[in-house]
Symmetry: C2
Subunit: 120 residues, 2 copies
């Protein structure tokens, strides 16, 4: 066998640092992998083909992108669509929309760090 093919964290299965299989833990494990959040974020405005997505993420390695995409497809957050490339599923779009308030929070966070400026 060529590909041991590791599977994505998903609810109902034990994940890194938790054996409960609670959904939020699977999500935390999934999103805690590098580039996962970024990929979802870059797809928020519509589908992108592989290389456009790679570009949007600042030129990450195609190997990592490929792996992240297969994980995200496995848990139905992303799907392939022809000929547009990769797109959020309805489920994935829901997740991203839940993340919008978080990005607004990030703006406040930024101001808080700037005003009570800690180290330059």
């Amino acid at each position: 066998m060529k590909k041991p093919k590791k599977s994505a964290p998903r609810p109902g299965r034990p994940v890194r640092g938790s054996r409960t299989g609670r959904p939020v833990m699977a999500l935390i494990d999934l999103l805690g992998r590098r580039w996962t959040l970024r990929v979802l974020w870059e797809l928020r405005d519509g589908p992108l083909v592989f290389r456009a997505l790679q570009e949007a993420c600042g030129g990450l390695s195609p190997s990592v992108l490929s792996q992240r995409l297969s994980e995200l497809r496995e848990v139905r957050l992303v799907e392939t669509r022809d000929p547009e490339g990769y797109a959020l599923t309805p489920l994935g779009a829901e997740l991203v929309s839940e993340l919008l308030p978080v990005s607004r929070w990030a703006e406040r966070w930024s101001r808080a760090l700037a005003t009570r400026g800690n180290k330059p």
Copy 2:
């Protein structure tokens, strides 16, 4: 010098895969590091001392926990409090509260994966 001491991603600075310094990108970089989300999550119900936090996260390495905590302190999401240990700052608590809807979403996600069961 013994410690090169790498700094946490923060708004206004270029981060991995993005040179814009936009706050949401800094946040994505920060949360995309392993255990960062989990640490914030485990602090949601109140302060924990170092080893309790380590335990809560399923026994992650103290070296990684230490590094994550210093990053989180640097960007004012976590603070040390005596004698309770580590706690969310008001800012950090805001972030976690923005994350609550996401954890509810994870429940729906879990059901969606279970019903239209993809591979067992």
